[in-house]
Amino acid sequence: MIKRLPSASSVRTAILLTGVLLLATSCGWSLWDNPMTTVRPRSDFGRWTDEIFMLISWTTLVIFIAVEGGLLYVCWRFRDRPGAPLPRQIHGHTVLEISWTIAFALVLLIIGIPTIKIIFKTQEAPAATDLHVEVAGKQWWWEFKYPQFNITTANELHLPVGQTAAFFLNAPDVIHSFWIPHLGGKRDVVPHRVNRLMMTPEVPGEYPGQCAEYCGMSHANMRFRVIVHPKGEFEQWVRAQQAPPAESNDPLAQQGKSLFAQSACVGCHTIAGVSAGQIGPNLTHFGGRKSLAANLMPNTPANVARWIENPDHMKPGARMPNLGMTGEQSQALAAYLLSLK
């Protein structure tokens, strides 16, 4: 007896399948390790979502393979051959059709029941012991208020690990959507309506966030940064925020301070002890932030000066006007603002 060698086509199929598997694995890995990935949850809320996502993914993958494989098989097996007789004119098969209708309904039960459980689990009422954060989405930046600590900050959200954070979302202008992919799903920020989102961060680290609802010209530039602190560090941050800003004696910074106090800046921005504007971001501890203009770029003197000279250039449509500052003035302002640690 001669041992049958695998045919050329089956070798090709095997190579193809291996390639597809390798590709799929590398894709899976590339999804895992990304700054804004949704499949590496870092909070309880994110984990619960991910569990359902994986359940549905595997279920649909099975159906996908069955249907697409079935389609290919049928096309191959029943391809027209020369001289084939007219096929039997079958009109249907009631039992078969009823059974696959029921089968589909059963598959949906597998997905539907855990879905409903998680819906209710993730929308419980917040407790008094939770960290409360009032989030305001504005064209095109984020304001974060901590009513329990009397802190207001912008574009950088600080959270402690292991404590449930309850976000109360509101927008003064148009609809935005508050989203930190690592920490779970998004929730729209709707004007004159307080929406709620709750999650407990489980791993310290820095996670980018971004507005996810189209909100006008610079929607793409409405980003923010989340810092989940290890135990103890968050309290330090709170104390630093509650203290008045440290000022430097650098003459350039001092010049910047008087410029700030005399110019239109004070109309929109608050710096504790200097101004009380409410329209733009609170700048009291601006120098302590890592990024500028809703997480668009690193908070360096050159970037801050560039921003002051022409906000619209960095963020099209920016609400902050171009005040016509000279290069010297904007550098002085940048030095002052960055000294506010």
Partner: protein, 618 residues
Amino acid sequence: MATQAAFMPGAETKTQSVLWSWLTTVDHKRIGILYGSSAFILFLIGGIEALIMRLQLARPDNTLVGAQTFNELFTMHGTTMVFMAIMPMSAAFFNFMIPLMIGARDVAFPRLNALSYWIFLSGALFVNASWLFGVAPDGGWFGYANLSSAQFSPTHSIDFWMLGLQILGVSSMLAGFNFIVTIINMRAPGMTLMRMPVFIWMSLVTQFLLVLAFPAITVALILLMFDRFFGTLFYVPSAGGDPLLWQHLFWIFGHPEVYILILPAMGIVSEVLPTFARKPLFGAPVVIYSGIMIGFFGFGVWSHHMFAVGMGPVADSAFSIATMLIAVPTGVKILNWISTLWGGTIRFTTPLYFSLGFIAMFTMGGLSGVMHASPPVDLQQTDTYFVVAHFHYVLFGGSIFGLFSGAYYWWPKITGRLLDERLGKLHFWLMLIGFNVTFFPQHFLGLIGMPRRIYTYAPDLGWNFWNLVSTIGAFIIAVSFVIFIANVIRTARSGQVAGPDPWDARTLEWSIPSPPPVYNFARIPEVHGRDDFWATKYGDEHGGAPHPQPAPVTAAEIAAIHMPPTSYWPIVLAVGMMIMISGLMTSMYQIIAGGLFTLFCMYQFAVEYHRPPAAHGH
């Protein structure tokens, strides 16, 4: 158009110019061709908008177009593809095929049909005219309030979009009623509802969706119009209005709209598969009932577009379950189509390729749809590129593949010549590959956090590679359409002459010459069962012999056929309506003048047929 006119039916009296005969035509076949060619041009415009967006996103921090232009591009791409490309491409098939497939000589209201087309064209031109004025709509195809309010969108960009959609809605409503009446009343003797071809069934369901869904967006747009022009505050939250009201009204329209876009394609596939498998559609009644179920459930799931707005756990659960239920009839249809192929002798022609592409791609779109039917998962996926991938698998992988299947299938019936099979298959493979290269990576982009509608992104987020791949794919798709256009041009003169029944098909339209004469059927056929034309060739399902050949049609019979005369009032009325509506952006006098002119046209339109027939010179 000259080459088309040469083989076109319904050439009017020689004294009329070709152009005039097209402007005043009420022939459903010519109107179908007008719909199809206009929609295809708009489809190319929407495609070019997509290509520019893909170029902008090909690399991070790109500056090819600015934020404002990008926002205009995605708004116009969505609006164009939904309202001015896929819907009218489906309308082209409704127009051309419905009377032919039910054995009628025209639609129920031929002039109303012409009016629908001219209003559609004026609406499409109106919205696109915004580019010329430098105020292209920039609020998204969904135009969410309160970004669309006068405070946040002070230019005329939203006005062009809002009024244009209103005009397009009128066209859809008129067409919807016309086709409902046509299908209900004008079927050939013996064609009971359950003997109707499935394409006709899906068309009928689509028309009901049109006439029931469009009023919701009409109301939403009227409230928006009042907010913007007359100072009302329906959507203004600071005055107690509710921007979420817009979302509810929009999606009560918007979700049925999805089925308006996909059901015609499902109908086409249900015709193409049996023809090329040489077997009847498997479980036709179930396919029909599934279509009706999809249409019915389509009105009960709108809030699944709104899981992120914070409706509370009860509403989330209810809409989640309702949405998952839609997967049942949809899945059933897919298995019925595959079973249609089972046991057949499958001839792999271009129309069949596109239908198979439809099943394969639409299945993927359906499965990713099941994912975000689950609200927790949706909260991660909504407004990301995952959703962009999902609905392109449904609307491109589904509707566009289905519509091109229909185009290749019925092309010989419409023009009398077959499209080239070799170029057609090349078109198919390039489109299939390009489509998957473009949109499959967008699943990954969504899962790694790329939001929709962003004109730029930072380089350190891991989105660079897949965006570049997606852009390359988009250009492969563009090449595939160049090949389609080349195919059309090449075969217009030299294509193989089709004859009445080039595919050995099953339904009535193949029993008459290609292209059909102006009166379609010299003698209205009598129908004895489903796939009656097949039965006349091969005998019926009960083993009956092929039908005997009927007596040849006499010249006297043809002379006795009455066809409606041409009319220029539809196009004039459409122009009047556009003058009236665009007056909202200029002056009250234009509204009054346009309104009076429109009324005058309506009156003329209404009394036209009361004049003595001799006045028409026909």
